[in-house]
């Protein structure tokens, strides 16, 4: 009987995108070796296996390299045995992919900017947009334990950044976006997500992330400033 191929994950400590790939591996029950990148000085391994984007995460399965967190989650679901990350029916799968894409495309930018921009009307506009997006997710999670139903699925993992990183950004940036008064169901989901036994073991602690992002705060604020200088 042939040996199962090795699975390695190139990640960077504290990356919410890298977390998606780790969470998928953990939920699926796939053993893996974690390779942590220093994004300040990218390794040959990363540049070789993700020449197009040069980003983490990158999944290495045997001699195959898969990049882009959402693509990685689907690959993990198809290549390995274990609990399904997507529902069985085509319409349910389409819904899941739609929300994962929504989180990826529409969600991240206003969120990020609402934390790191200088105070002012433009920042307020991004906070408003971030909250509108949160409201849509609040609507989706109502009445469900997880976006995936009874257990964690693609959308939960795609939204995983919300569950842990938002609290961290709020603390570091001093901006409140996802309060439990405004988004009770989403906040409860966040608790369930971070406490889930599969997620818990691969999730960095809040304290560690606060320390990390505090050290990056200046840099992020600079980037936000440059992006929006008139």
């Amino acid at each position: 009987m042939s040996q199962p191929e090795t699975v390695k994950l190139i990640n960077a400590f504290g990356s919410p995108f890298g977390h998606r790939a780790e969470a998928a591996l953990c939920v699926k029950g796939v053993p893996y070796e974690l390779i942590l990148e220093d994004l300040g000085s990218k390794s040959e391994l990363l540049l070789k296996h993700n020449p197009v984007h040069k980003f983490v995460p990158v999944l290495l399965h045997g001699d195959r390299a898969v990049a882009e967190s959402i693509v990685i989650i689907e690959y993990i679901d198809e290549a390995f045995e274990g609990p399904p990350l997507l529902p069985a029916d085509p319409h349910g799968r389409a819904e899941a992919r739609f929300w994962a894409q929504f989180i990826d495309h529409k969600f991240s930018r206003p969120f990020w900017l609402s934390f790191w921009m200088e105070d002012g009307p433009r920042k307020e506009a991004f906070v408003k947009e971030a909250k509108e997006n949160l409201a849509l997710l609040e609507g989706q999670i109502k009445g469900r334990r997880f976006f995936g139903g009874d257990d964690i699925g693609l959308v939960d993992i795609a939204a995983g950044g919300l569950a842990r990183w938002v609290g961290v950004f709020e603390e570091v940036a001093g901006v409140r976006v996802m309060s439990d008064e405004e988004f009770p169901d989403l906040c409860q989901w966040a608790e369930r997500y971070v406490s889930h036994e599969s997620v818990n073991k691969c999730l960095p602690s809040r304290g560690e992330l606060v320390a990390l992002y505090s050290s990056w705060k200046e840099m992020y604020m600079q980037v936000a400033k440059v992006k929006f200088s008139s």
Binding site: V52, V66, E68, V71, E74, P90, H91, F98
Partner: protein, 224 residues
């Protein structure tokens, strides 16, 4: 009286939309009959569109037995899964599928970056040009010497990317001051090869028509 559920496939679309064209080509390749419903996008959007895609209010929307599916790549994946007896566009192997999904998503950049070429000037436009050359280079490299992205057969990545070709030539080329044939010669040859397929030839509009449309948009948005 309760509204009767319309059986079958309806595609809410806009004639020149490359994202809609992805779906049209896929439906043709799979031999799936559907009702094409042209949507008014530059004026007032229809009730059906707003109801089917309340979040983005965009086309394409595929409605299957009354249930909407939104986002072109989500629609392509849906067609694969909802009609398993139709000819597949994705390969069977999980790694090949992951590659296909990666490059199909990447192809969105052609439109995204290309739009910046005609919407902006000066520094922003130069940046868009530099990015476009990189994107085309990456796509050309990924295609390599293969006839199609997955190899011998026309498939997922080909149909995700080919609708952007009439936007590249002549429009993005002219606004960006480059030539696809020069910077991505294999990609240019591939585009011609794709046009030999009936599904592609019957769906895509000539570059000149797309150019007219962009000029119309520029006027509408007051872009010089």
């Amino acid at each position: 009286m309760a509204e009767e559920i319309k059986k079958g496939l309806v595609l809410l679309d806009f004639w020149v939309s490359p994202f809609g064209q992805r779906c049209r080509i896929a439906l043709a390749e799979k031999g799936l009959p559907y009702e094409y419903s042209e949507q008014e996008l530059l004026g007032t959007k229809s009730e059906l569109l707003l109801r089917s895609n309340p979040i983005h209010k965009k086309i394409p929307v595929l409605i299957h037995d009354g249930r909407p599916v939104n986002e072109s790549l989500v629609i392509l994946n849906y067609l694969e899964e909802a009609f398993p007896d139709a000819p597949p566009l994705l390969p069977a192997d999980p790694y090949a599928r992951a590659q296909a999904r990666f490059w199909a998503a990447y192809s969105d950049k052609v439109y995204e970056v290309g739009s910046r070429l005609w919407k902006t000037k000066g520094e922003a436009q130069s940046q868009a040009r530099a990015e476009m050359l990189q994107v085309l280079g990456n796509l050309d490299g990924e295609l390599g010497e293969k006839p199609f992205f997955a190899g011998e057969k026309f498939g997922f990545v080909d149909l995700a990317l080919v609708p952007f070709m009439p936007w590249l030539t002549p429009s993005f080329e002219r606004y960006g001051g480059f030539s696809v044939a020069e910077v991505a010669p294999r990609l240019a040859a591939w585009a011609d090869r794709c046009m030999e397929r009936e599904s592609v030839a019957k769906t895509l509009y000539p570059g000149e028509k797309v150019d007219e449309f962009i000029t119309l948009l520029k006027k509408k948005y007051g872009i010089e």
